[in-house]
């Protein structure tokens, strides 16, 4: 027996050596490396785990790394475990030097007091060159904490070919929208079952459900916080919010695949691109997906703003990606990190980053947009691009919880699952719309209590 044990131990040891030896990079002790080479090291986190994005980011970071003579370490942190990562890292002071992330993390980190004010960089780069709305989202008390990289905008993406085939027009109000959605429930093989659904209502509890609910709220001019005073107003409009919830649930029952209760971003995007749904709310990522997975579909895609109940949308839903610098590593490190971030904002670079997700990401620098719009990947969408870009610039779009500027409420709403749970419960008839909205209201107030005790 002992011999056998010994044999196995040896086999394991050999395999271990091979494995350690093979990839080479597995066990580089990197803690002391900066001292050995004399180079400063910047640690960068990004939430972008999609291949195309991480490739472009890595390329740019490496360019700058050799240009500035610093070492960079790039760590993708997926959105799904971002908050546990940030919270634990903050607790122990192991946050990165630079982070490329959505406004929710900017708000979180700003609330923790670990961010470096970015006003100087914005001014050096030219404040006017940045989209004002994107700057607002990074602003608390007149100070900018994150440099906006790109902005995203939710529209209804739809199949132009199906609209043409069934003689449908872009809907102008909710009645028309519901009618178009049901008209697009199509049984292509005539087996009595719907093969293409009109409009999916994705409600996955992590990140997705909130993004489904808010475009409808904004379209009717409702917000969580008052855009000018920052006061909590969600609780004042329960009646309308219930009505909106009911409208969404009617859409769910009439024209959405029942499985969409647990659909995530990739589910509804795949569904549109592979031809299983005719319209969907999305931040334009369907375009990039179609380009890689189903190129024939690209020409069929178009978008319009989700209308309000009785007419055009009063506001729309969007989001940003930003670069922030964390002030934990000492003055020299912070200065270096800021310099690094600043160098990322050459129009060509900003455009290139946004173009890694065409029509999903729009550069927040006007100078970069000029380059962006001529790129071949967004070429077919000139009209859509103008509509989106104009509504982005019009200052009538919000991210939930941030209607009045950078706010940790957004972080809570982003990290939490109670929106999804409430909406799924209504869809499954476990709650009424009234109960669901009241539950959301109660949970939101709880979070506000945490933020401002």
């Amino acid at each position: 027996m002992l011999k056998k044990v010994a044999a196995i131990v040896i086999v394991l040891a050999v395999m271990l050596t091979i494995l350690v030896g093979c990839p080479g990079k597995t066990e580089e002790p990197d803690t002391d490396k900066s001292n050995q080479t004399g180079k400063e090291k910047l640690v960068i986190w990004t939430n972008l785990t999609a291949e195309a994005q991480i490739t472009v980011l890595t390329k740019q970071f490496n360019e700058l790394s050799s240009e500035m003579g610093v070492e960079v370490e790039i760590n993708p942190v997926p959105l799904t475990d971002l908050y546990s990562k940030m919270a634990t890292a903050k607790e122990s002071g192991t946050l990165p030097d630079i982070m490329h992330t959505a406004e929710a993390s900017v708000a979180y980190l700003e609330g923790q007091g670990v961010l470096e004010c970015m006003d100087d960089i914005i001014n050096e780069l030219g404040r006017d060159d940045f989209m004002e709305s994107a700057l607002n989202m990074n602003t608390v008390d007149g100070k900018v904490w994150g440099v906006p990289d790109w902005v995203m905008h939710t529209s209804v993406w739809y199949r132009k070919d199906l609209f043409a085939k069934y003689g449908l027009n872009v809907p102008q109000n909710w009645e028309e929208f519901a009618a178009v959605a049901s008209a697009l429930n199509i049984d292509t093989n005539e087996d009595g079952e719907i093969d293409i659904y009109g409009f999916p209502v994705p409600m996955d509890a992590v990140l997705v459900a909130t993004q489904t609910y808010y475009p409808f709220l904004y379209a009717n001019g409702l917000t969580t916080l008052d855009p000018s005073t920052g006061e909590y107003v969600f609780g004042d409009n329960i009646e309308e919010e219930v009505e909106i919830m009911e409208y969404i649930m009617d859409l769910f029952k009439a024209s959405s695949p029942p499985a969409s209760i647990s659909w995530t971003w990739s589910d509804y995007r795949n569904a549109l691109v592979e031809g299983n749904v005719a319209m969907t709310l999305d931040m334009g990522a369907v375009v990039g997906l179609a380009q890689t997975n189903n190129p024939d579909m690209v020409v069929n895609l178009g978008c319009f703003d989700l209308p309000g109940k009785d007419g055009p949308a009063k506001a729309t839903f969007g989001g940003t990606y930003n670069f922030v610098v964390i002030n934990q590593g000492g003055d020299a490190k912070v200065a270096l990190a800021k310099e690094f971030v600043k160098k990322l904002y050459v129009p060509e670079r900003t455009a290139e980053r946004a173009l890694s997700r065409p029509m999903f990401a729009f550069p927040s620098q006007n100078s970069a947009f000029a380059i962006y719009k001529d790129d071949v990947s967004v070429q077919p969408f000139q009209t859509e691009m103008t509509t989106i870009y104009n509504s982005l610039r019009d200052l009538t779009w919000y991210a939930y919880g941030m209607e009045s500027g950078l706010n940790q409420l957004n972080t809570s709403m982003q990290a939490t699952t109670f929106f999804g749970e409430a909406m799924q419960s209504v869809a499954l008839n476990q709650m009424t719309s009234q109960e669901a909205v009241e539950y959301i209201d109660q949970k939101l107030q709880e979070q506000i209590q945490l933020i401002n005790p």
Binding site: A50, I54, S92, V206, N270
Partner: protein, 287 residues
């Protein structure tokens, strides 16, 4: 005579029926186990047109390696694999040694606090790992191990040690003490008895414990996901779980990576499972 013959026929029929039944059960269980794995494998080999076909094809019409090319083009899978291997191996070695000493000490010697330690090692087994997460992270970051694999290893020590101790206690209990006692009477020192008699007698049990610890550590996700942030330090489960974050699930790539991570561990285990079975069945766990 005729009755006897009839009985024989009946018996044979019964025998045949039973054979068929057992055959069916065997086939069913093999199918249940093989199907999900088979499906992962062929999904990773289907080109995108076929992957998203509805209804799905059970036998792929064409086979392509495009997803594997994409998956390995830019990904860190090999690094993740190496990390998992290092973490699991070190955890296994440390836990096995510590637990062997510990379990032997607890079963063969009497001293103050022995009972408490025994009981609390089992009690430790039912503490939700999630409860350990934040405090353990603090410990690890205080030790400045957050950007090394040692952090994950420490987490896995906490997770696997109680179970290993508990298993080994029952292994040592199942070995009769008489042999050791007679050796002691003959003048051997306690440590020699431990080294030369107890360990060899218990070797199959120790080996199975080691394999169990390895598997637990290899599959663990929660602690491994929190303990490191560097991409180059992620374990396989964490690295792969990142690919199913709901931002973008690229099913073909994900299936290719899933297959690539499952096959090595299954092969490795197949090679050593004989010893695992031998050890676990050597007479432990009788309650």
């Amino acid at each position: 005579m005729i009755i006897m013959l009839e009985n024989k026929v009946k018996k044979r029929e019964k025998h045949l029926f039973r054979k068929c039944l057992i055959g069916a059960i065997v086939a069913l269980s093999i199918g249940m186990i093989a199907f999900p794995l088979y499906w992962m494998l062929i999904s990773s080999l289907k080109p995108s047109t076929e992957l998203f076909a509805s209804p799905p094809t059970i036998f792929p019409k064409s086979i392509s390696l495009e997803w594997y090319k994409k998956a390995f083009q830019n990904s860190m899978v090999l690094t993740y694999f190496g990390n998992s291997f290092i973490v699991s191996s070190i955890t296994t070695v440390v836990v096995t040694i510590v637990a062997t000493f510990g379990a032997y000490g607890l079963t063969r010697f009497r001293f103050v606090g022995r009972k408490i330690i025994t009981v609390s090692s089992l009690a430790a087994y039912c503490i939700p790992p999630i409860m350990l997460m934040v405090p353990l992270y603090r410990v690890v970051s205080k030790l400045r191990l957050i950007s090394s694999l040692l952090g994950v290893i420490i987490g896995h020590l906490a997770l696997t040690l109680p179970f290993a101790i508990w298993l080994l206690i029952s292994f040592f209990k199942s070995i009769p003490r008489e042999i050791e006692e007679s050796a002691l009477v003959n003048g051997a020192s306690e440590f020699t008895v431990f080294r030369k008699i107890a360990i060899p007698l218990c070797a199959p049990g120790i080996l199975s414990t080691a394999i169990l610890v390895f598997i637990l550590s290899w599959n663990e996700y929660l602690l491994a996901s929190v303990m490191v942030s560097q991409d180059s330090m992620k374990t396989l489960t964490v690295g792969l779980a990142n690919y199913i974050s709901n931002v973008q699930i690229d099913w073909g790539i994900v299936m290719a990576l899933g297959t690539a991570t499952t096959i090595p561990i299954v092969l490795m285990f197949s090679l050593i499972q004989k010893y695992f079975v031998e050890g676990l069945t050597a007479g432990a766990i009788k309650g």
